[in-house]
């Protein structure tokens, strides 16, 4: 049984001009201790997928279909109180801007101690000791003094370290990290990623790492899901998705990244833009931009199917092997 299983997840936003379907039958699984990267351009549905799993969709957004299971147990229909306990205890969260997670009015120590006590039920003294240990573990120098400082007293990189401590201190089995390094400088990004990698490996924590940065995915993930227009276009082992992508969109995406090693006169580009939610084409959502489009793509929608070592939602791979 996978740790997390998302099956045919549909998320919709009712609007005055009809219902917008932002996630359309998204399916994937995360095994215990595994890092699943989720990439795609902005608006593809990455953050919504994370928000749906932890029950934090902004209203009027709602789950309109499918199911989400944590260790086999449905969590998409739980009452808010129960979900809140799962969030924090079994699923930790890290967001792009550390200040959305940290309360500016409380010291970082108080926030850590509260989280530890709520979920692990330790005494005051034991919780404080544990909090200091976590600050040390995430590399805050002078942790026993700085535990009583407020978030604004920390630099951006240090704040994100505190957020990581906060996400991991209740020892969750899964962490959902949504663009955790996007707001940071490159050199600090490298520090935060290696910290996240080391800690989750040491504690056996699984990670759903949402980012639009393929480089971050490459060095961190075991598997990758590529999202496009609210759907999973391709999913598979990281080396295969990057090195031998099966979906024409993944291929285009990889080609558009400028390389440090070799200089090309022109970057490969995918013409056009990802469609808006109210104008998703019939059939394969990528068909107006696809260099390999053929008739079937315009009328029939491809589901994920086996494509070499990955799975791709693309008719080019129909009949090559059976569906999963």
């Amino acid at each position: 049984m996978p740790l997390l299983e998302v099956r045919d997840l549909v998320v919709e936003f009712p609007t005055r001009r009809g219902v917008l379907r932002a996630l359309d039958h998204v399916s994937f699984a995360i095994e215990a201790g595994e890092v699943l990267g989720v990439v795609g351009e902005s608006g593809a549905g990455k953050s919504l997928t994370g928000a749906a799993i932890i029950g934090l969709l902004d209203p009027p957004g709602r789950i309109a279909g499918g199911e989400i299971r944590l260790q086999g147990e449905r969590i998409d229909k739980l009452p808010p109180e129960k979900l809140r306990r799962i969030r924090g205890r079994r699923i930790g969260t890290i967001f792009q801007d550390p200040l959305t997670t940290l309360n500016p009015l409380y010291t970082v120590g108080r926030q850590l101690v509260e989280t530890i006590q709520t979920h692990l039920g330790l005494s005051d003294a034991a919780a404080r000791k544990r909090a200091i240990a976590w600050l040390e573990e995430v590399g805050i120098p002078g942790a026993s003094q700085r535990i009583d400082a407020y978030p604004h007293a920390f630099s951006g990189g240090m704040r994100q370290r505190v957020v990581i401590a906060l996400a991991l201190c209740a020892e969750p089995m899964l962490v959902i990290a949504d663009e955790p390094t996007t707001a940071l400088d490159v050199s600090v990004q490298a520090q935060i990623i290696s910290l996240l990698k080391r800690l989750t490996r040491d504690h056996g924590t699984a990670v759903m790492l949402v980012t639009h940065d393929m480089g971050v995915i490459a060095e961190t993930s075991d598997r990758v899901a590529v999202m496009y227009a609210g759907r999973v276009a391709e999913i598979g082992p990281v080396a295969a998705v990057i090195g031998t992508p099966a979906h024409p969109y993944t291929e285009g995406l990889m080609g558009s990244i400028p390389s440090l090693e070799q200089r090309v006169a022109r970057l490969r580009q995918i013409d056009g833009a990802m469609p808006r939610l109210d104008a998703i084409p019939a059939g394969c959502a990528f068909n107006p931009r696809c260099p390999r489009v053929f008739d079937r793509c315009r009328s029939e929608r491809p589901e994920l199917m086996a494509a070499g070592t990955t799975q791709a939602a693309c008719w080019l791979h129909a009949g090559v092997a059976t569906n999963v």
């Binding site: 951006g156 050199s187 990623i193 490459a218 990057i242």
Partner: protein, 340 residues
Amino acid sequence: MSEALAPAAIVVTTAPMLELAGVTHVFDVSRPWLQRTLAREPRRTLRAVDDLSFSIPRGTTLSLVGESGCGKSTVARLSVGLMEPARGTIRFEGEPLSTARAQPALRRRMNMIFQDPYASLNPRWRVRDIVAEPIRTFGLAHGSAVQERVDALLTQVGLAPQDGEKFPHAFSGGQRQRVSIARALSSAPEFLVCDEPTSALDVSVQAQILNLMKDLQQRLGLTYLFISHNLAVVRHMSDQLGVMYLGRIVEMGPADAIFAAPRHPYTRLLLDALPDLAHPGRSRTSVGGEVPNPIRPPSGCTFHPRCKLANARCRAERPEQIAAEGVLVACHAIEEGRAS
């Protein structure tokens, strides 16, 4: 390319397009007078750009790269005359920038593209009027010729003439950046300062914009000062490269030479910090520390708290730029032969 879009007058000069010599810019970041007086605080200044020199030959691209707050945008604003430097000189086509800016004929030959294409476009104007404004301001066309020129510009950046009827909010991020580029090109400039023009865009959209900028450079002979924090983008775009740290250029030279053999410890740190797509799963070398507070920069070489090669001299004495095989580097270890 239509005639209308060609640079109006090709001035034959051997002077570089833009030349900065010893440019320094200092911001006053003191608290208000009363609070300062009550707290007995001195005035506080921030040296955002410190003794910067470079020149950009016509038709080429010079890029500046560095982490947040190192002074890139300040150089951008100084270079188009949006601010006056505290010290040093800036020349545009051999003329002092302030003199050049006073002449409309020269002023229209420089323009700027910003990171956030939405903030830089007036949301209440139709795209047609946004693009037409510089044409009218500089009197480059009249009557129906204005519209023709706008249509040609929109087509040139990959939009349709009908898109001129729309307002900026009706466009995606990449399309808005195309509108900004059309607007920046509308006065037929020869020199463009591009401050993180693709940093807010997805990689697939970034590829479209970078390709467009390179095409335009070739067709119109444009000169770019290109600013980015992304080394791979810079590698793709640049002829020359300057690496900035806390207001200073620590390494500068032909981009190919720097990428082939980065010398300054900070340049190496930046390159090592990049994830490697060719080898998934490989960790980056993670370097300690963050950019220090620029109000109280470290003594000597400001990079010393993060540098493995730092010694007593580095902490006391600021390194000057020295030339090493066509590249300028400011580092004691390199001068002393301590760095390989």
